[in-house]
């Protein structure tokens, strides 16, 4: 395989990287700030489920608001900023096109974070909505939308003006994700906040919204990153790559239709949930292809996978994702749902996606992206490796605790003799385990933030004495 691009490939790579350097670093720093905040909120929420009276004198810290702020910081803070940081860079790299107008990207990023801060203050003082994962007050939704439009348009423009004839599956996922999100967002806001429909129609729109934000925004972009980093870092072509297009189309179509399984047994016409069940079960097809494409590729180059930090994160995330899809299929079956509905299994399932898959993939991406952009690598890999161990451990404990708690709740719901008070009391062990998991995750996330910031600072310290030198000769 020969690299056949005009001029020095490094020059063009540097142009691309430099075109969005500032914006990417801004997004990385915002992402890790929101991540740290969200894990703090998660920790407070975890303590509250063990000691209900913890921090209960202030209205803003009541459990419902903490939960709302946690969801909002996770989704609109950490996930969004991480997506903005990584998606554009991958898109620009694969399209061999520098991102134009990086300055606008930066301004839009600032607007986005202002909207998020407003939303958090709004939730704290009680302006939250009744809908999970869209609790931000309706008056911030317009600002989010404006900022998002200013941001996403550059990803699409970059793909449109790509300098090569290739079209790699990562680009599809990222383009799709960037285009789907504003649409899902507008439909959700329109039918729930702007021109509200009434009654269960709101719940139907809400279920559709959550499902699509997860599976048509977070998942495609994280999958795009997986499809990019796994072959790149393991130096192997994707196994059975010709199936990846099938996986793309079946995954996005089936996942988008599968949202109403959240309402199984609820007060909606049964054909809605039945339709979603069929599509959710059909996800077995893309799930098997993802397994071959991602895990298969990684297993065939196992030695690389062991030694490469970023790859370890990303493979962990991919494995968690495939497991997540199988759990989703299982949960969509009526008899399983009868046990799992209203239990913590659904909460576990959301953490599974956001932490187990999305965050792990993006931790890996950051551990690759930051040194590459800085042209400055870690002197020692001890702390980053420790971060991997802690994150993986924290996620596994958290998921075991929540799935375990949910399973126990489900079996006890079926026993009408047990009162709800009894069922809640029996959860103590699992809630404590959850708190342990959240604490480990909290430390892991702080370590992650520390690692990224430390690398930035050490680069700055290196650069400052011979600043002018570096400017002239960026290739060294």
């Amino acid at each position: 395989m020969s690299v056949s691009s005009a001029g020095s490939p490094h020059d063009s790579l540097n142009t691309i990287d430099n075109s969005i350097n500032k914006a990417v670093f801004y997004f990385i720093l915002s992402a890790i700030t929101w991540l740290a905040l969200s894990s703090l909120l998660g920790l407070i929420g975890g303590i509250k489920t063990v000691i209900p009276s913890f921090l209960s004198t202030n209205e803003g810290f009541t459990f419902g608001r903490i939960q709302a702020m946690l969801n909002t910081t996770l989704l609109m803070g950490w996930c969004s900023n991480a997506i903005f940081a990584v998606a554009f860079w991958i898109m620009a790299r694969l399209s061999s096109t520098p991102i134009k107008h990086g300055g606008i990207l930066l301004i839009a990023g600032v607007i986005w974070n202002i909207a998020l801060s407003l939303a958090l203050i709004g939730i704290f003082i009680g302006d939250l909505t009744a809908y999970s994962w869209m609790e931000f007050p309706s008056y911030t939704s317009g600002i989010f939308l404006l900022a998002y439009t200013l941001i996403a348009v550059w990803g699409i423009v970059t793909y449109r003006h790509k300098q090569n004839d290739y079209s790699y599956v990562s680009q599809w996922y990222i383009l799709g994700g960037l285009l789907w999100f504003p649409w899902i967002f507008v439909i959700g806001q329109f039918f729930i906040n702007w021109v509200p429909v009434r009654g269960v129609l709101q719940s139907i729109v809400h279920a559709w919204y959550i499902n699509n934000v997860f599976y048509l925004w977070l998942c495609p972009i994280a999958l795009g990153a997986c499809y990019y980093f796994i072959p790149k870092l393991s130096n192997t072509a994707i196994r059975s790559y010709h199936l990846s297009a099938l996986a793309f189309w079946t995954f996005v179509l089936f996942a988008s239709w599968s949202g109403l399984t959240y309402l199984i047994g609820g007060p909606v016409p049964v054909w809605l949930t039945t339709t979603s069940i069929v599509f959710a079960v059909s996800l077995i097809i893309p799930a098997l292809i993802f397994y071959t494409n991602l895990i298969g590729t990684a297993l065939s180059s196992f030695s690389q996978f062991k030694n490469n930090l970023a790859l370890k994160f990303i493979i962990f995330g991919s494995a968690a994702f495939i497991l997540h899809l199988f759990v989703k299929m299982g949960l969509s079956i009526r008899s399983v749902d009868a046990l799992a509905h209203f239990t913590m299994i659904y909460e576990a399932h959301h953490w599974h996606l956001i932490y187990g898959f999305f965050s792990m993939v993006f931790f890996g991406a950051f551990y690759y992206l930051v040194p590459t952009l800085l042209k400055h690598s870690y002197k020692s890999n001890v702390l980053p490796n420790f971060n991997f161990v802690l994150s993986a451990l924290g996620i596994i404990i958290l998921l075991v605790a929540l799935y375990g708690a949910g399973w126990q709740q489900g079996t006890q719901f079926a026993n009408a003799e047990l009162s709800f008070l009894q069922i809640a009391n029996d959860l103590t062990f699992w809630m404590q385990l959850k708190l342990v998991g959240l604490t480990i995750l909290f430390i892991a996330n702080l370590l992650f933030a520390f690692n990224v910031v430390a690398l930035l600072l050490s680069k700055l310290l290196d650069v400052l004495p011979n600043f002018s030198n570096d400017e002239i000769n960026p290739n060294t």
Binding site: P52, T62, G64, A68, I187, V200, P269, L421
Partner: protein
């Protein structure tokens, strides 16, 4: 750039199809639901008959209950409480007394800010008004759940109450009536007064009760589930 337009078209089709198939169609199917003037009732012979001309169901919430509903939303109660009764085989809702029948879409047509709920860390509240109809119990439960349900995972909401000094030991009107010897009771001379928000929230809870018949949903269980 042929594949660019194909890709865009595909991306468009995917989301449009699920929007049309799941949201538009249900808007079309359920958007026109009106309050019922018909009701299924048991006649003297024990047969189910459709009766016309009864007051309309579901009924509108009163003003302060509506305010209480907003408090319910603002305090994030929906994180742990659901408001939907499901079929008996899905968790014994009827036997637990969560309602007298399964909830259907028409029960909710007057509601905005839907709180169907997705988690039952606490019990379902669809018909809490008929299960617990004591105002003081609810206020006490909000003030500190440990008073009424020791071991509950529900957080206390002391910020919905005011602590005031009273000159005499005599009970101030509206003050919480603590059980004898409760460790959570205030000292003599101090009374806990619920704020308007707390009263509105409790009024909302007391109004929650699905006890009427609809043509598509019949009360089949008449005991209130002790």
């Amino acid at each position: 750039m042929k594949h660019f337009s194909i890709l865009l078209f595909g991306i468009f089709i995917v989301l449009t199809s699920s929007f049309l198939g799941l949201i538009s169609s249900s808007l079309n199917q359920l958007g026109g639901l009106k309050q019922s003037t018909e009701s299924l009732e048991l006649d003297d012979a024990g047969e189910l008959v459709l009766v016309d001309g009864d007051p309309l169901y579901p009924m509108k919430l009163s003003g302060s209950s509506e305010q209480g509903h907003m408090e319910y939303v603002k305090l994030g109660c929906v994180n742990c409480h659901s408001q939907q009764v499901r079929r008996e085989e899905l968790g014994n809702d009827l036997q637990r007394g969560f309602g007298q029948r399964v909830s259907v879409p028409r029960d909710f047509i007057l509601q905005s800010n839907m709180v169907l709920g997705y988690s039952r860390l606490g019990p379902d509240l669809s018909s809490v008004g008929s299960r617990k109809s004591d105002l003081n119990w609810h206020l006490m439960h909000l003030y500190n759940p440990q008073i009424t349900s020791p071991g509950s995972l529900m957080p206390p909401f002391p910020f919905l109450f005011e602590t005031i000094k009273i000159s005499e030991v005599a009970a101030t009107s509206g003050a919480l009536e603590f059980p004898e010897g409760s460790p959570y009771a205030p000292e003599n001379g101090i009374a806990i007064i619920p704020s308007r928000r707390a009263v509105a929230l409790v009024e909302y809870l007391l109004n929650l009760d699905i006890n009427y018949n609809l043509p598509e949903a019949v009360v089949t269980k008449n005991d209130t589930g002790e």
